[in-house]
Amino acid sequence: MKQSITLGKVTRIIGISGFLETTKSLFTGKLGKEDFRNFLRKVIVPLASIVLFFGLWHLGAKTLFNIEAEYRINKALEEQGPEAAAQVEACIASGDISCQPNTLPSPSQVWDSYKTLLDDHYAISADKVAFKEKTAALNAQRIANGEAPIVYTGRPSFVDQILTSLKTVFAGFLLAFLIAVPIGIVIGLSKTLRSSVNWIIQIFKPVSPVVWLLLVFMIVKTLTKNSNADNAFIISFISVGLCSMWATLVNTAMGVSSVDKDYINVAKVLKLGPVQKIFKVILPSSLPLIFTGLRITLSVAWMVLIAIELLAQSPGLGSFVWEEFQNGAVDSNSKIIVAMFVIGLIGFLLDRIMLTIQKMISFNKND
């Protein structure tokens, strides 16, 4: 029983509970006439849209593949004669990796790449474990001697890249939270301050992540001259934080400045002190808006992270995508598409988590 409750909660968080429940009632045979329309709307149509999506993708990939193949054959025909053209055609038809057209991969290719990446991850993990075992004795000795232990410096797996990206996005999100919420509260409380810093917000809010990255790079590069800190990580998480904090800043300021007049009157009648007033009346009443801001911030952070990692040469999904693109191997394109889906899914999950937290702490349960 307990498990079914938690399962229900999980599906509700992901947002597919309607789908699952309707499917369940189909199998338990409790499907009335009314339920049939529900079933159609919540199960059949979503499934059909998935099938349609993959179908269109498949057809599109095939068409692009044919265009590319035809071009190659024609080129061979023009430049080297019919014999070479026939050779190229045969090579493409045989599926040999050396002469595959480089274009949008089909769903099945992407699925294969996904499995390759997973296998690769297991291989690297096994490698790491083996390395750790092999160096355990030596490292213990080195630490005893006051030397730095030997660490694994092999290539990171795809899963490692995801974890690095998540680490960066959370660091950036935390930075945005720590900067934007306190400043937002202060700005929200003071009309003078609000109008005096408004220009900063309005001008810097629309600045592109790339420019932020360069700005942060200029500063961090100098500041970390004499240390061996992880520059790429610092630069990328600070840039992510600066890019994404504006939504929280604006929303917090708005929430704090637009507290219901009734609540302010209550605070006045109870004669709450300024600190009490902020923590007991103003903050609770603006929490919903602050959280809306944080939700936007997290999704913006995740979105700009990929671009920033790509430029900052910081490890993570962004650099994974960029390296694969530069790599130009046969399965590079499909690996990029795998990364695309992973990025999308993680972004979706992050948003859902924020939404759930927001719902949990919001006092407007009915809204």
Binding site: L270, K280, N366
Partner: protein, 279 residues
């Protein structure tokens, strides 16, 4: 010395050309232990008057004296029951009252404070709902919480701004009795603002009509000479009640007609006649 005194109060909102004078030349004296009701149309400036007395706003001209001292800001001595409950929605019933009590009695221990909260929640019959949030309560229950919150602060004077305006007739009657019961216990001074003449007569010692704004001003006062405790059903047969009620309503109607005559707005009605029905 009067307990509460309003001297030549004027209140204007806005400045220059867009200024609207809401209250004009308001004079009011309330003695200690008295229950005074101010009756007026909606939009006549009643809430402005209340906010002046409890210290949320300041008069443009004139003085508000409370126990001989000019009112400066809000005070725990004057408890307010707001028109729209003004409960904090993220706190439970108990927490809403606790927050108020804690501010008024900062020296009391936690358990003493919780005891006070429990007492007042009990008094308004909300003990089963003490851990609920305002959203989960009906309008009447919310207003009872607001009453409990105002009274738990043990104010010397209770100011009520149309406290029962949004409630249905039955709940309204019950709450009127509850407020009267509590008021009767230690005879605090009370000021009730209402748009219901019957409510005013039932509850108050003295009724003062507020002539509608802009430039609202107080009308002549009506004393209610009906013995307490008053009984609602008997009240209807009481000749004194009828007389006072008719006098007040007549006065208010006259003001209303005056106002209509002043505006002189004519509405062109379409010339329609009902269609004949065939069954």
């Amino acid at each position: 010395m009067a307990y509460l005194e309003l001297k030549n109060i004027y209140k204007t909102y806005g400045e220059g050309d867009s200024a609207t004078q809401v209250l004009s030349n308001i004079n009011l004296t309330i003695e200690e232990g008295e229950f005074v009701a101010i009756v007026g149309f909606t939009g006549s400036g009643k809430t402005t008057l209340v906010n002046l007395i409890n210290g949320l706003i300041e008069p443009t001209k004139g003085e508000v004296l409370f126990k001989g001292e000019p009112v400066q800001g809000t005070s725990h001595e004057r408890g307010v029951i707001f028109q729209n409950y003004s409960l904090l929605p993220w706190l439970t019933v108990g927490q809403n009252i606790y927050m108020a009590v804690k501010e008024v009695f900062p020296k009391k221990s936690k358990s003493e404070l919780h005891e006070i909260v429990a007492d007042y929640v009990e008094m308004v019959n909300l003990t089963p709902a003490i851990n609920k949030r305002p959203k989960e309560l009906s309008g009447g229950m919310r207003q009872r919480v607001a009453v409990a919150r105002a009274l738990a602060m043990k104010p010397e004077m209770i100011i009520m701004d149309e406290p029962l305006g949004a409630l249905d007739a039955l709940t309204r009657g019950n709450l009127q009795d509850e407020i009267l019961k509590i008021w009767g216990k230690d005879k605090r001074t009370a000021l009730l603002i209402t748009n219901d003449v019957d409510e005013g007569i039932y509850m108050a010692d003295r009724i003062i009509p507020l002539r509608p704004g802009p430039k609202a001003t107080l009308g002549p006062e009506f004393n209610i000479d009906i013995e307490r405790p008053r009984d609602k059903t008997e009240l209807n047969d009481n000749p004194n009640f009828k007389k006072t009620r008719n006098a007040i309503i007549e006065y208010l109607m006259d003001i209303g007609n005056e106002r209509k005559a002043q505006t002189q707005e004519e509405y062109a009605l379409p010339d329609l006649s009902p269609k004949s029905f065939v069954w």
